[in-house]
Amino acid sequence: MIDAIIEMPMVDEKCDRCGKCVRNCASGALFIKDGWSIDLGKCILCYDCMDSCDHIFPVPAPHYALNRKDLVISSSEDIKKCETELSKDKTKRIGKSVFIRELDTGSCNACESEINCTSNKYYDLERFGLRIVSSPRHADVILVTGPMTRNMSAAAKKVYDAVPDDKLVIACGACAISGGLFAGGDVMGNGIEDTFPVDIFIPGCPPSPERIIVSVLKAFGFIH
């Protein structure tokens, strides 16, 4: 259907754990602890590490993960574990049409722009049964962007409470997953997970429209 492959950095076996890439990483996504690892929830996919080292090469990245710790990837084997389906109890009430409410908790507006793009004629998410709605009260799913700023946290909690129960939360982009580059700023903890529970994590900065759509479809089991 849609060709939505993005690439993430990965080391080959010649990596000598010198730590140069870790020092160059702007988002602090790379770390060396019993081997080289990348936290895709923090990675902004700037590929600065690839410029600094010959042993880092691009591999296809997972579109989404259901657990935060699945996004910490040490080898190509870990990538395969990411894209699993949501359990049936979570998706039972929602059925085959997913109504999505977008919630900005302080993003830079690139994620909003990409979510707006999902409605344009190239992607047209409504043909898949997904729809972006105007009110939290109409929604099944909250699509959260941004690092949860302190100023927005009270309003974000109200939105969460206004969505009918059996709701799901999607963290869209590096900021929402881990705080991204703003983790040390005027924000609540690391990512939105400190404020309310998250069901689907879509890494990227920003995730492209096709990846947002594919992630939702795959997580709900509409495509395999």
Partner: protein
């Protein structure tokens, strides 16, 4: 040019410069420590930049806004971020943050305490028979950023609108106070996602100072900056059509924009061109095939846009909605010193690319598109005209393209550095003060910081349903304003 002035004479000095034809770009304060606490005023007239610096004793200074009203927003910002109050200025509600610290303030050099006191949000203060106040936000019906608005209405027309922003305040200015040899481009690109190139370009200019970048890099920077302007303005055109429920042009506009974003991804590796510009040059090269692709697709984009504008202007229901709506008079635009396409649509002919050319702009032919109709339609036409100008500039760059290096290594120097570019939304400034190898203050003045005030002046008299339309025609960034 820099001048040190006694704080008691600062107001008169600024007034004198303004009478001379200068306009204030930004006013901000510097924290004490290795340098004394001081107030900085940066002004521009054409190509000339003047920086006035005054040391402050204690926590207050005589207000400048009493004589120069457009400075009141900066004084509010300074009192909130630096804890320095101006004497004589009435205190308004919060500019950005909705809480304050006890005996501390966000930009202080010492560690911040944990306890905070919330600041109540003020109403508009308009009362009378049949006058209502409608609170809207911060979560809106569309997929946009958060902001709270209060409309005072009597019947349908709005009497006064106040925008309460700050929901996306992430504390960026504090995060940027790092060691001077650290490259902060990655975080600066994410100040406002759709102005990634303009922000990183202003930062790059500040780091480079007077040093020249290679010619190929200069041309590529113009191409990237203009591509960004094109997709940003196309978003507005599509959005204005959307807000008048004119869905066919809206869908077509979004389609044209998507094509530009895909072109961005092909040539720059990122749909919003993040990671293309670094201090000293550019990071991505373009091949001859890319040059051909850009040329062909930009040409196609121009034809598509012409068709779209023809469709919009030939519909009387559409023009009826946008003509004489949201008038920002020339006087109001001058009074708040509005910038960018908003000001140019109100007859203020000012463009940094023309007045103070940077990179390759001085070698390119460009026309500053302006209009004196002051309404939504004229802003729409100015933006469409700017896209055409951008397309022509991209073509000129492609024709001038020659082989050469892409960047030269530069590092930030001690003292004051300054970068000023024309972002899609208008004049964007980055000012850095480096003290002993550390960024002591990194001030960012986003064009939206000014134009939000212009929006509040354009709204009264219009009906509430026209608010989204007028707001879209201004296209203001919440995240750029809130930092």
């Amino acid at each position: 040019m820099c001048a040190d002035i006694e704080i008691c004479n600062l107001r008169d000095a600024v007034v004198r410069y303004i009478e001379d034809g200068f306009g204030v770009i930004c006013m901000y304060a510097i924290e004490p420590g290795e340098v004394p606490r001081s107030l900085q005023v940066i002004m521009r007239k054409g190509e000339d930049i003047v920086r006035l610096s005054s040391d402050i004793d204690g926590r207050s200074y005589p207000s400048l806004a009493i004589s120069i009203p457009e400075l009141r927003f900066y004084e509010r910002e300074i009192s909130e971020m630096n804890g320095i109050t101006s004497i004589g200025l009435p205190v308004f509600g919060p500019q950005r943050i909705m809480w304050r610290y006890k005996d501390a303030y966000p930009l202080q050099k010492a560690e911040l305490p944990r306890d905070r006191i919330s600041v109540p949000m003020l109403g508009n203060g308009i009362q009378g028979e049949g006058v209502f106040e409608i609170p809207v936000g911060p979560v809106h019906a569309g997929v946009i950023e958060p902001g709270h608005f209060r409309f005072s209405v009597a019947g349908e027309p709005m009497l006064k609108v106040k925008a309460h922003l700050g929901f996306t305040h992430r504390g960026i200015e504090r995060l940027l106070e790092t060691s001077a040899d650290k490259d902060n481009t990655r975080i600066i690109e994410r100040i406002s996602g759709d102005t990634a190139v303009a922000n990183s370009l202003a930062y790059a200019h500040a780091v480079e100072g007077e040093r020249e970048v290679p010619y190929r890099a200069k041309l590529m920077r113009v191409i990237f900056a203009e591509l960004e302007r094109v997709h940003c303005h196309l978003n507005d055109i599509s959005g204005i059509a959307q807000d008048t429920a004119f869905v066919v042009p809206s869908a077509l506009g979004a389609g044209i924009r998507e094509k530009v974003l895909r072109l961005n991804e092909e040539i720059g590796g990122h749909r919003y061109l993040m990671g293309t510009i670094i201090p000293g040059g550019v990071r991505k090269d373009i091949s001859d095939d890319d040059i051909e692709a850009i040329d062909k697709r930009i040409m196609k984009m121009r034809f598509d846009l012409e068709e779209l504008m023809e469709m919009m202007s030939s519909s009387t229901t559409f023009t009826d909605r946008v003509e004489t709506t949201g008038i920002l008079t020339h006087e109001d635009a001058m009074a708040v010193r509005a910038v960018g396409p908003v000001a140019r649509a109100s007859g203020v002919v000012s463009d940094v690319r023309k007045d103070r050319p940077y990179d390759a702009y001085n070698t390119l032919g460009m026309k500053v598109v302006s209009s004196d109709k002051c309404d939504v339609l004229s802003r729409l036409k100015v933006k469409a005209g700017e896209i055409t100008e951008s397309a022509s500039m991209i073509n000129q760059c492609l024709n001038h393209m020659e082989d050469g290096p892409l960047f030269e290594k530069v590092s930030l120097r001690e003292g004051f550095s300054f970068g000023l570019v024309e972002a899609p939304r208008g004049e964007l400034m980055h000012a850095l003060h480096v003290v002993n190898g550390k960024v002591w203050r990194h001030k960012i003045r986003d064009p939206s910081f000014i134009n939000w005030n212009a929006l509040e002046l354009a709204l009264p008299g219009n009906i509430v349903p026209d608010f989204p339309l007028i707001n879209k025609s201004f296209n203001l960034s919440y995240s750029g304003n809130d930092l």
